[in-house]
Amino acid sequence: MINLIIEFAGKYKVIKNKNVILNSSLNETIKEDKTIKIFAKEFSEFLIKLQNNLERK
């Protein structure tokens, strides 16, 4: 995964060096956190509900 993403990042000039700061963390990035998922759902739906109410006014 690292190589392909870095290849694209290089192609689109978003990084110059494959430095340690990036490589140390990239493998870990796809792990999920259940609490974040719960609130992403609840608060996103809540904000959309508020948007719908506002637009109905």
């Binding site: 995964m1 392909l4 993403i5 870095i6 694209f8 990042a9 689109y12 000039k13 978003v14 990084i15 110059k16 060096n17 430095n19 340690v20 700061i21 990036l22 140390s24 963390s25 990239l26 870990e28 990035t29 796809i30 792990k31 999920e32 956190d33 609490t35 974040i36 998922k37 719960i38 609130f39 992403a40 759902k41 609840e42 608060f43 996103s44 739906e45 809540f46 904000l47 959309i48 509900k49 508020l50 948007q51 719908n52 109410n53 506002l54």
Partner: protein
């Protein structure tokens, strides 16, 4: 080197803590700041140099040695110091910032004070050498919000020789903020749907990247890194080429890389694309994961609607969330009713109790708006 110093009879005897150094006399009063250099750990305490005198002090946290820093005096006997200035910041911000500038002999400018506030909010110790590095870098790299928080974490973690790497990271990967990356990616997802006819691609995007409240496809609420990576691979292997595809690959790559760096410092920023009727909405959020002394995680969270002025801020600890909400032009009673429903839903589904307050600004602006519209019956 100590053997070469003239008249240096015994180096250790000079650095030994002597009874003559009386903390009651030589240290400022409780709750004041001192500038100090921690020299070495001394049992469970630390030998520190304050105004040329050595004291043995207790700290409530691990501290960096041989660096000039600022601490506040919790107790004078025994000497107990703390590097965490967050409480002092909330009590008396201006006085605290003036004291830090004076102790570290740095100019008392608005810019320096803003940087100090951000460092304290990140719960980092005020180390003079690190502050000066930050001050120099932020003259070159204009950054704020989440990216400034990250920059502070990087400078505090890495040594001075790594500064070119950090600058490189900001001149390239973080030349656009994560917030902008999410907006660009949101637009490129919409463009992909409008301009591509590939059935597999459209199905994948609709099922995994766009949350439909009717279908409740919660996968679209998750971290999108893996899904985006698989789509990049699919587009690349299938030799797709168009402006929309290029944009999508570019911002997906930036998204994955930026998120991976943030994750290292326990920041989890993200966005949600939501299908509403024939259109789409965009919600961005950020979670900062903190760890309690028992190792359990707690979360500081912020949600912001991309199209209407609405924000939620909160802090989740164990099974209790306390927070506030701000939304413009919204009737208070209706908002309270919606909050109550949300509280009940969250409690029923996840056994999490919640206290979501309407901020004073929100109450004031709502009252003002309804008075102007003549809706407030008490006034009319």
């Amino acid at each position: 080197m100590k053997n070469t110093l003239k008249n240096m009879i015994d180096f250790e005897s000079l650095t030994r803590v002597r009874n003559s150094v009386n903390a009651e006399i030589f240290l400022p009063e409780k709750n004041n700041l001192v500038s100090l250099i921690p020299l070495e750990y001394f049992g469970h305490s630390v030998k520190v140099l304050i105004d040329g005198k050595i004291f043995v002090a207790e700290f409530d946290e691990k501290i960096p040695l041989k660096a000039e820093l600022v601490a506040f005096i919790v107790e004078k006997s025994p000497v107990t110091l703390s590097l965490n200035l967050t409480q002092l910041l909330s009590k008396n911000k201006n006085y605290l910032l003036e004291q830090i500038c004076e102790k570290l002999k740095i100019p008392n400018t608005d810019r320096n004070k803003d940087l100090l506030v951000k460092i304290i909010q990140e719960e980092k110790p005020i180390i003079k050498s690190k502050f000066l590095q930050l001050e120099i870098i932020t003259q070159k790299i204009k950054t704020k919000d989440l990216e400034l928080s990250l920059l502070i974490n990087l400078i505090w973690k890495y040594s001075e020789k790594d500064i070119p790497l950090i600058v490189d990271l900001y001149e390239n990967l973080f030349s656009i903020s994560f917030s902008s990356t999410c907006k660009y990616l949101f637009n490129s997802i919409k463009n992909l749907i409008l301009n591509q006819e590939d059935v597999y691609l459209l199905n994948e995007v609709n099922a995994n990247l766009i949350y439909d409240t009717k279908r409740e496809n919660t996968i679209a609420l998750q971290n999108k890194s893996e899904i985006l990576f698989n789509l990049i691979k699919y587009l690349n292997d299938g030799d797709y080429s168009s402006k929309e595809v290029d944009e999508f690959i570019k911002f997906s790559s930036i998204y994955i890389l930026q998120k991976s760096v943030f994750k290292d410092y326990d920041y989890y920023p993200d966005f949600v694309v939501i299908k509403r009727g024939n259109g789409f909405s965009f919600i961005k959020y950020n979670f900062k994961k903190l760890y309690l002394s028992n190792g359990m995680p707690s979360y500081k969270l912020e949600f912001e609607h991309g199209e209407i002025p609405a924000k939620i801020k909160g802090f989740l600890r164990n099974n209790f969330l306390i927070g506030s909400i701000d939304i413009e032009n919204y009737e208070n009673n209706l908002l309270l009713k919606e909050i109550d429903e949300l509280k009940n839903d969250i409690n029923k589904r996840w056994q999490i109790n919640m206290e979501l307050n309407i901020t004073e600004d929100q109450i004031y602006s709502a009252e003002k708006s309804f008075q102007k519209n003549g809706i407030n019956k008490l006034v009319s």
